[in-house]
């Protein structure tokens, strides 16, 4: 034990206090008048459990009530006409109105030139084929 600890201990002992006989009697008298409390049962825990069960039961009851209400509701009347079954979409027929082209003179000339070009190309192709085979 160090100096400080020793000094603190000895100085504490030098604090002069005594329990007087009056004080002793006073304490004893006050103790005689009371009884030690008995340990209390864990009420809170029980209450917490009961609340939990109560809330579970309420939940189950509510669910049952909803099921019963749904099942007891009158069934809706069947509709007289039902929707037709699915039919594939039929493409509507469109009346085509084609008109014959009326060729004007420059177009007639061009058409003849094209036919002439086509004939020349055909003759050239036939010659080439004859040459090759």
């Amino acid at each position: 034990m160090d100096n400080l600890a020793e000094r603190l201990r000895s100085d504490a002992e030098r604090i002069d206090v005594t329990i007087s006989p009056e004080m002793d009697n006073r304490i004893r008298a006050s103790l005689t008048g009371i009884k030690p409390d008995a340990p209390r049962p864990p009420v809170r825990i029980l209450r917490r459990f009961s609340w939990r069960w109560a809330s579970s039961a309420t939940g189950v009851a509510a669910a049952l009530a909803v099921i019963v209400l749904i099942n007891l509701r009158a069934p809706e009347p069947m509709p007289a006409m039902t929707e037709p079954a699915y039919t594939p979409f039929a493409m509507p027929s469109v009346a085509l109105r084609a008109q014959t082209a009326v060729l004007t003179s420059p177009l007639e000339q061009e058409f003849e030139d094209l036919q002439s070009d086509l004939r020349k190309a055909e003759e050239s192709l036939r010659r080439d084929l004859d040459t090759i085979f």
Partner: protein, 182 residues
């Protein structure tokens, strides 16, 4: 310890004699401690009485894993704190610490009591921690339980208290070497 437990069991069943024997060894130490924490000797006696009554009434809540003295001191600290709060509300101020019961109880001493210096230098809780450590030989964990503080708080404040009182002791030794202790 076994006899202490037997006395506790008997007291729980309502034996005032068993309880009186149980607390007999603690009463004076408790009163000495309470003298340092109240504003008058009468208050210290009242708090001691309240402490013993509370201990007897609520003995069923005592946990035998603790030392009985730890439990008793915890009740005493709480009762003293409650009284101080009431006094502060009623009087506004507790008055001068110089004329407190501690000073009255050590007035006849030939040298300054270090606890009087401690009362002046340390806060209430640090003072209590120092007292429980150096007078009641309580462990740090017991002191923490009594003061409802963490163990680290207790360790740090015990160290601070020690340093302050060490300094005070050295100052006293240098001022008056013939009366120095050790």
């Amino acid at each position: 310890m076994t006899s202490e437990l037997a006395l506790i069991q008997a007291a729980k069943k309502g034996s005032v004699d068993a309880f009186t024997r149980l607390v007999c060894d603690y009463r004076e130490g408790l009163l000495r401690f309470l003298v340092t924490r109240t504003s008058s000797f009468a208050d210290a006696e009242d708090v001691l009485q309240d402490t013993l009554i509370s201990a007897y009434r609520y003995l069923h809540s005592y946990d035998p894993r603790w030392r009985f003295s730890t439990w008793l001191y915890r009740i005493a600290v709480n009762n003293a704190a409650r009284l101080r709060r009431v006094e502060t509300v009623e009087l506004g101020d507790l008055g001068s610490e110089e004329s407190g019961p501690l000073e009255q109880c050590i007035a006849a001493a030939d040298r300054e009591n270090l606890w009087a210096s401690a009362r002046r230098l340390l806060s209430d809780e640090v003072f209590a921690a120092m007292w429980l450590r150096y007078v009641e030989d309580m462990s740090v964990s017991d002191i923490s339980a009594v003061l409802e503080r963490s163990e680290s708080w207790t360790k740090v404040n015990l160290l601070r208290g020690r340093r302050l009182l060490d300094k005070e002791l050295k100052r006293e030794s240098s001022t008056n070497p013939s009366e120095a202790y050790g």
